[in-house]
């Protein structure tokens, strides 16, 4: 009985895969064509992914109130950076700032740094502007700005969420090692991008 249910579900899934989709002439992979284009935009850059996850890891490591302050404030600050990028405001050296964010946030997680909350918030906020600016400057003029923006914000929030969930391992002894190791990995990724940005 159970095997037949599984088989039916599998067949239904295959049937869904075989259904024809709608061909859209201008739904380009890099175009501002909708929610999924915006959602994928922050996820496709490894430097951004590493830094966003490090923010989540650090927030979880710092505990309350940082763990909930972060997902509320970060998207707004990052969107402000995105606005600066969209309108073409000059921001020299933002790529170095992005790479530095990976190095410093990774190092903070690795060394279990516990600065005052306002200092951590300012540091993360500055990095958020750099990351938002880079995304904003890259966004093409699209046909559906609202859906793209919604997807962009949701994608960023997802990365934070993953970082926070991984950071929750910090409450166990082995988890502390894992979280610190993840911070170290982020720092290495950031160092590679910093080298590329400077060289």
């Amino acid at each position: 009985m159970r095997a037949s249910i599984v088989r039916n579900i599998g067949l239904a899934f295959v049937a869904l895969l075989l259904t024809a989709g709608v061909a859209e002439a201008h739904a380009g992979a890099s175009g501002a064509s909708g929610f999924f284009a915006g959602f994928l935009h922050p996820i496709m850059g490894p430097d951004h992914v590493a830094a966003m996850m490090a923010v989540g890891l650090w927030g979880a490591q710092l505990g309350r109130p940082a763990i909930w302050l972060l997902p509320i404030t970060f998207p707004v600050v990052m969107a402000f950076g995105g606005l600066l990028g969209l309108v073409g405001a000059p921001m020299p050296g933002f790529e170095i700032g992005i790479a530095l964010s990976g190095v410093l946030l990774g190092a903070a997680v690795l060394t279990e740094a516990r600065p005052p909350l306002f200092a951590a918030a300012i540091l993360v906020g500055i990095f958020a502007i750099f990351h938002g600016y880079a995304h904003g400057a890259e966004l093409p003029v699209g046909e559906n700005a609202l859906f793209f923006s919604m997807g962009f914000v949701a994608g960023t929030g997802l990365l934070h969420g993953i970082g926070i969930v991984i950071g929750l391992l910090y409450q166990w002894r082995w988890g502390k090692v894992a979280v610190r190791a993840a911070g170290g990995a982020v720092g290495v990724v950031g160092a590679v991008f910093l080298w590329n940005a400077i060289a």
Binding site: A79, A89, G136, A145, L146, M150
Partner: protein
């Protein structure tokens, strides 16, 4: 395996495939024509307009976090402002509004919901009626474009009332710490979306 057994196995995927095949592929966000009449056209227009749903949800989150009197103010004043200016929009005709103006309620109401600052009840009432006036006018002018008229506006306001009532009620029932943080995150994401939309609007207009 018999032919009957094969037919039974294929029945479910066949039904699913047929269901997917007949599902509508195109979604028209504006000027909805459901074929069910102007009332449902108006209701569907709101349900297909995230640029209107988001600020309404943000207002509901803000009011719900503030308490019962704020929730009552939002639930009453939003539909009043919406229907009055919806009728005005029907009379004045189609309106082409810049994304710059559409971003303002997202930023303001999303920011307030995220910040969760204590505020007087009259502020919530004023925000609700202002949002209702702006969105009502936009929706009313759209209803006039497809000749749905006042009935279309009434359909929209009915769904708006249900939406704001459900959101405020849900947020007021969110008493656990994490659930209140979750709704504030929704407010934050709404504000962030509004800020990006503002940037898009400024770039598209060549204002900067």
């Amino acid at each position: 395996m018999t032919a009957g057994a094969i037919c039974r196995i294929l029945l479910l995927p066949a039904i699913v495939a047929m269901g997917v095949a007949v599902a509508p592929a195109d979604a028209n966000a504006h000027l909805m024509t459901t074929g069910l009449g102007p009332f449902y056209d108006g209701a569907a227009h709101f349900l297909m307009s995230p640029e209107a749903i988001l600020p309404v949800a943000a207002l509901g989150i803000f009011a719900g976090l503030q308490g019962l009197s704020h929730a009552r103010a939002a639930v009453v004043m939003l539909p009043i402002g919406w229907i009055l200016f919806g009728f005005a929009g029907v009379l004045t005709g189609p309106l082409d509004i810049s994304p710059i103006y559409e971003s303002v309620p997202l930023i303001l109401l999303g920011g307030l919901a995220a910040a969760n600052l204590r505020s007087p009840t009259w502020l919530t009432a004023v925000l609700a009626i202002l949002l209702g006036m702006l969105e009502g006018y936009i929706f009313g002018s759209a209803a006039s474009a497809i000749r749905d008229g006042m009935v279309g506006v009434v359909g929209t306001v009915s769904v708006v009332f249900i939406t704001i009532a459900l959101v405020t009620a849900a947020v007021m029932n969110a008493t656990r710490g994490w659930s209140r943080i979750a709704v504030r995150v929704v407010g934050s994401w709404t504000a962030a979306t509004g800020i990006l939309l503002l940037g898009w609007g400024l770039r598209s207009n060549g204002s900067l």
